[in-house]
Symmetry: C2
Subunit: 372 residues, 2 copies
């Protein structure tokens, strides 16, 4: 059995009793009840995930940046050339990208994972093993870029399975190596196109509604991108409400048809992290679109996932609404890589620390208001 299927079998529900104990503990701390707002909900969630009150700090964190190329780029959906995917992987390995800077600030490590970059990159083979993590670059290429989803499936079923396994393996290795929180990252020129297609497929929304300007494209390229997303949905029978019913019934088939290799690895990573009982912070629209797939495959894992930030890409808001998630940070970012989610790490830590370190009314000798 592969790493992904093994992770699915290990999943257990989060501990609701621990969440209730966390809520009771909040009432004893020196502050008006509820005055820490969403930090209090987050603290309860961390307790439920770890089954521990107060919860362990979600620290250190690890960001896995899954990188892949997209056949659909040949349809003119991005002004950036495909080579940039590989160039950025080198930038991640050298520590110069935005996600490196932000992860470093937050005390998190970054591992770039080549799950489907078109160019040649160092290759360590499959399955991913412990030693592969050390250089910050994991060679786990499943194939050289996905198929052009407007005319063909993104990948075959066997390739999908391999990519799912890569994600789950990386989650397992990072937690075994000490990560107490996982962060989704992604890199792939053209990746907002399959992301838009997945969001449309799983929400039933139209192509024009979910498709955005990605890294910043002009009106005519946006028009072309909408056509390409629409073509992918039509081709695969995943358009409109009927398509949505079909996507939810066979989520992995939809992923193989209109997703990308990094999306598949992210699904594995989301499920793998939940199986390890650590919180997984979602970055932007690529992670959200993968999460829509993962939520159908593994509903038990949903409570382990936390939306890190609100991407400026329209599919992100639509997908998060469908998932019932409210993001922690909203700064108009649209870079991907895991950069937005990194900014949410201190908020998670703050939720854990306030619950665990604040004085109680008793210990500090502070008067309480009479409870009604």
């Amino acid at each position: 059995m592969g790493a992904f299927r093994a992770a699915l079998e290990r999943l257990v529900p989060v501990d609701r009793v621990a969440a209730e104990r966390a809520e009771r503990r909040q009432l004893s701390l020196t502050k008006p009840p509820g005055s820490l707002g969403r930090l209090e909900e987050l603290a309860s969630r961390l307790c439920a995930i770890a089954s521990e009150v107060p919860p362990p700090l979600p620290h250190p964190a690890a960001v896995a940046v899954f990188a892949a190329d997209h056949g659909v780029l040949s349809q003119g959906v991005s002004p950036w050339p495909a080579e940039v995917t590989a160039q950025m992987v080198a930038n991640f390995a050298a520590g110069g990208a935005a996600v490196n800077v932000l992860a470093r600030q937050m005390g998190a490590r970054v591992v770039a994972v080549d799950v489907g970059v078109a160019s040649a990159l160092p290759r360590a083979g499959l399955p991913v093993s412990d030693g592969d993590l050390t250089g910050g670059l994991v060679g786990a290429k499943v194939r050289r870029g996905s198929g052009d989803i407007s005319v063909e499936d993104a990948m075959e079923a066997s390739e999908l399975e391999k990519a799912l396994d890569v994600g789950a393996q990386v989650a397992t290795l990072l937690t075994a190596d000490g990560a107490r929180c996982l962060v989704t990252g992604d890199m792939g020129i053209g990746s907002t196109t399959p992301s838009a297609a997945l969001v449309a497929a799983f929400t039933g929304a139209g192509a024009a509604e979910v498709t955005g300007r990605g890294t910043g494209i002009d009106d005519s390229m946006l028009e072309q991108k909408v056509k390409v997303v629409s073509a992918a949905l039509q081709r695969s029978g995943l358009s409109g409400p009927e398509g949505a019913a079909r996507a939810r019934a066979e989520p992995l088939a939809a992923l193989a048809a209109i997703g990308g290799l990094e999306h598949a690895a992210l699904v594995g990573f989301l499920v793998g992290g939940a199986a390890q009982r650590v919180p997984v912070l979602l970055d932007g629209v690529i992670a959200v679109s993968a999460c829509l797939v993962a939520a159908e495959v593994a509903p038990l894992a949903r409570d382990y996932w936390i939306a890190g930030h609100m991407s400026a890409e329209p599919g992100a808001a639509l997908g998060l609404r469908r998932l019932g998630m409210e993001p922690l940070v909203d700064l108009g970012m649209r870079l991907g890589e895991g950069s937005g989610a990194c900014l949410a790490l201190p908020l998670l830590e703050a939720a854990a620390r306030t619950l665990s370190e604040m004085a109680t009314f008793d210990s500090a000798g502070v008067s309480e208001i009479p409870r009604s």
Copy 2:
């Protein structure tokens, strides 16, 4: 001349040329233009404040928690007894309050400043001097609580001047002691009532619009609080559009009439921080209401102030809109103390670090898209 007047004289505009240089530098970094969203604006702001590109890190930060009591508490505007103000000051000094936990996480120091607590607390006298900072508790009591603003002025002109000086002195001492970013904090049972009155006075909004549930009051207490705010506005002639014109023409007189001692100290702190050319992060509605006063007194200082978070208290949103500020964090918090603003510190640091540490297209060998 007092510390506040001296700070007013030292104010200089932020450096717009540095902000433009920051924008140009952003374009050379390995990311699509604008993709870091508000982090890019923030980075420019930090450069303008420090007149340096890339900017110095806003680290370490220092939180000054100005504490005072409010005569208006006798009108039944809060279920908490006044003793809690002093008890919480002791909690700050012992490191057990929410702001201590969050500041510790962010590497920031906390100094509690008794500028008008009703109970006896250690007193170091005025002016505040360097040695007073070391224990984490500064005794700078101007008077024992403010007057009941529904029937009398909060303070006399000479007391106002002393409180303004305390704030400015604390800002100067903290920056002299190495703080590269100042954070506003506040503590005072009943403080959301004068805050609501100030927001109403400076925006022209009605009492019911600006008055919120503070630490969590019931409907009948809220009704009473609205009446009290309304009475304060009527008494002082600061109600409605005419009152707003008057408040803006004589902002310090309005502050003395319907504010609080911590509000006055915060005005001094905001101006003092700007005079030291460091960013000052605003916490919730108490800071916002003080900022409305400070912005009229010292328009040059405005560009040094950054809204840390959106408090759940209605006056915060109204005040920030009037100030043209958009907060960085929005997590439904309503605790005060500086707790919300502390959560924005990593975002400021992230803005500075991305601009200073990211690789450029040239240095990383990443292809650029042709500029149009």
